[in-house]
Symmetry: C2
Subunit: 381 residues, 2 copies
Amino acid sequence: MKFTVRRSAFINYLSDVQRAISSKVAIDILKGIKLNLTMDALILTGSDADISVETIISIGDDHAALEVEQVGSIVLPANFFINIVKKLPEDTLTIEVNERFQATITSGSSEFVINGLDPNEYPRLPEVDTTEQLLVASDVLKQVINQTVMAVSKQEMRPMLTGVHLVIENGELRAVATDSHRLSQRRIQLANADTTMRYDIIVPGRSLKELATMLDANKDDVVIQIAESQVLFMFGHSSFYSRLLEGMYPDTQRLIPTTSETQLELDAPSLMQSIDRASLLSHQGHSNVVRLKMEVDAQTATLFGNSPEIGNVEEEIAFQNLTGNDLEIAFNPDYMKDALRSFGQSTIKISFTQPLRPFILVPTENENDFVQLVTPVRTAD
Amino acid sequence: MKFTVRRSAFINYLSDVQRAISSKVAIDILKGIKLNLTMDALILTGSDADISVETIISIGDDHAALEVEQVGSIVLPANFFINIVKKLPEDTLTIEVNERFQATITSGSSEFVINGLDPNEYPRLPEVDTTEQLLVASDVLKQVINQTVMAVSKQEMRPMLTGVHLVIENGELRAVATDSHRLSQRRIQLANADTTMRYDIIVPGRSLKELATMLDANKDDVVIQIAESQVLFMFGHSSFYSRLLEGMYPDTQRLIPTTSETQLELDAPSLMQSIDRASLLSHQGHSNVVRLKMEVDAQTATLFGNSPEIGNVEEEIAFQNLTGNDLEIAFNPDYMKDALRSFGQSTIKISFTQPLRPFILVPTENENDFVQLVTPVRTAD
C-alpha cells in the first residue's frame, strides 16, 4: 500500500472519521482508523461499535490530490496518526505500508515509522439491507436534531429515554425526546416521501449529536436508510451508521396539554437573558428554582430568583401579550434556558394551565410543528 | 454608599482585581471584592494574601462615567458579583448599600439584592515604605517575565525555586529562574536608574504570571517599589502587590558554561516544530527523550524520537551553521520547547560542550542579555 495525498484535505476527512472513535472503547482495534486503498479511492473507517463512520477520498477530488501507487489496507492508531498528520511540515504526505503492517509516513525531511494492525481484524460495517430511503435537507435535519436532542435523558436507568424517538408516517417525520421533566417535539414534512412508508425507531442522543456536528460542513441532502437495528445517514463523501435503541418508546402525545388558562407571548432571546440572570441566584440555592408571576389586569410578568445566603433578584420582563388568568409558577431555569435556546430569535407563545401542570412553548409563526414542554416545580412558599 | 457606573468599563476594572482573588483561599472575606467609594473615586481591592490588587476608577474617567451619590464601602462576594455585573441588561448600573451591608444592584428592570460583608473586616494592604523606585517599560517587563517564569520549579520542596530571582545592581536588572533541570536568565539596562541602588529579591512565579497578564492591556511604564517582604508594581490605575519569598537564592552564575565544543545556529520556530513532531513519539515512551545527532563533516543535524510500542521518527533539521565537534545529545523535548518558545521568531545559537553537560541557547542578535540553559538526559543506548 502506498499513496500520496494533500495534507489539509486529508485532515478534514480524518476529522470526520475521528468522531466515531472513542479512546474509552474496550476493543483495541477500534482505537484505530482503518485505511483501505483501492485504485480509485482511499476509504477511511472509524467506529466505537455504536457509531461507525466511513468516508471516501476519491482520486477525482482536486483538493485531496490523491495519488495511488499501490493498493492495500492497514489500521493505524487513530489519535496518534491524526496528530502526526496535523504536525507534518509539508503540504503533502506519502504513506507506505510494508508486509509487517508498519507504515512509513514521509513529509519533507520528516519520516515517521508507525506500527499498525492487520486490517482483517477490523470489524465489518453493519449491514443495512433496504432499498427504501428518505431524503432530508441537511440544515433541516440538523435543526430537528438540535431542537430535540437536548431533552434526552442523561440517566441510564431508562435507556430508551437517552434516545430521540423518530416516527415516520403519512409522509411526515416526528422527532420526540423527553427525560420525563421536559419534552421536545418537532415535525417536518418529507418532501418526496412515499406516504405508505412507516418507521418507528429510537436513535441514541449521542449518535445524533455527533451527526449534527458532521453536518455542519455539509450542504448536500442527507439520505436516510433504516434497518432492523441500524440507521444509516449518507451525505457528501460520508456514511454515518448508528445502532438503534431497543424497546417501545412511551406514548408522549397525551402528555402535551391542548388547552390553556394563561398565555404569554414574547421574544425567546429576551426571556432567555432574564432567566439567565435569575439563575445566577437560583444556582446557589439547593433547589435551583425560578418563579414567574403573571398579573393580567396589571399587565405585568415578574421573574424572581432567590438564594437564602447570597440574596435575591427580581425583574419585570417585557412581553407582547399576556392573556387569561393570573398565575404564579416555578420552574428549573436550566430546562427553560435549553427550551428557549432551541427557538433561536423567534417570538414564542407560552401556554400555562395550572401551577403544577406542564406548560408548553411554541413559535408564534408555526404553532403546530414545534413544541417544547416543561414541567413546573413545587416550591415551599 | 450609592453610585452609578458604565457597565463595560466597570467590568474591565473588576477583571483586573479578580486576578488576585482565589476561591481556594481559606479566609472568607478574601473571597470578596472590596469597594470603597470616596467623593472622587471608586477604589476596588482584591487579595489572596499573597497577591493584592487595587485599582482606582476616578470620576474623571470618561469610559466609566462614575457618578458618586453617597460615599461608603462594602465587601461583595467576588465571582458572584462580577457575574451579575456581566449579565445585567443595560449599559449602566447603580449600586446602593444599606446599613446592614446589603447591596441593591439595579440595571434597567433588573434588581439584585446581595448580602455583603463589613469592609472594616477586610485586611489592610501591605505597606511598602520606601521612596526609591525603578521604572521599566511595560512591554519590556512583560518580556522579562515571560522569558524566565516558565523555568521556575513546580515543586514545593525547595520553595525558593518556585520564584524568579531579581537582582538589581549597577543600573541593571537580572532575572533568573531555574528548576534545577533548566535555567533562564534575562538582563536589562535600567534607563533612569540610580547605579547605587541594590536589591536582591525572589518573587513568586505565580505572582509574575498574573502581573504579566494584567500588563497585556497596559501601555504605561511600570513603577516598581521594593520593601522588606513585599514588591509593588504600579501602572495605569492599578497597584499590584506581591509578597516575596524568603531565603538565599542559589548562585546560578557558575552553572552557565562559558566555553563550547559544538555550535549550531538556526531559526528557533523551525527547530521548535521539529521537536514538537519528535515529541509526539517521545511522549508515548516512559522516558520522554529526544536525541539530536550532529555530524560536522557531513553538515547534518538529525532529530530522533522513539516509542517502543508505537514507532519512531527521524528528521533532518535545517540550520544556518554547524561548527566544532560531532556530538550526539539527548534532552527532554518539553524543556527544549519552552526554551525555544521564549525566543519568538529569532535566530539562535546553541552551544554544546559534552553529551552530559548543560548546553545553552542565546539569540544571535544579542548573545549577552538572554540565555536559556538545558541539562541533557542520559539515555540507555
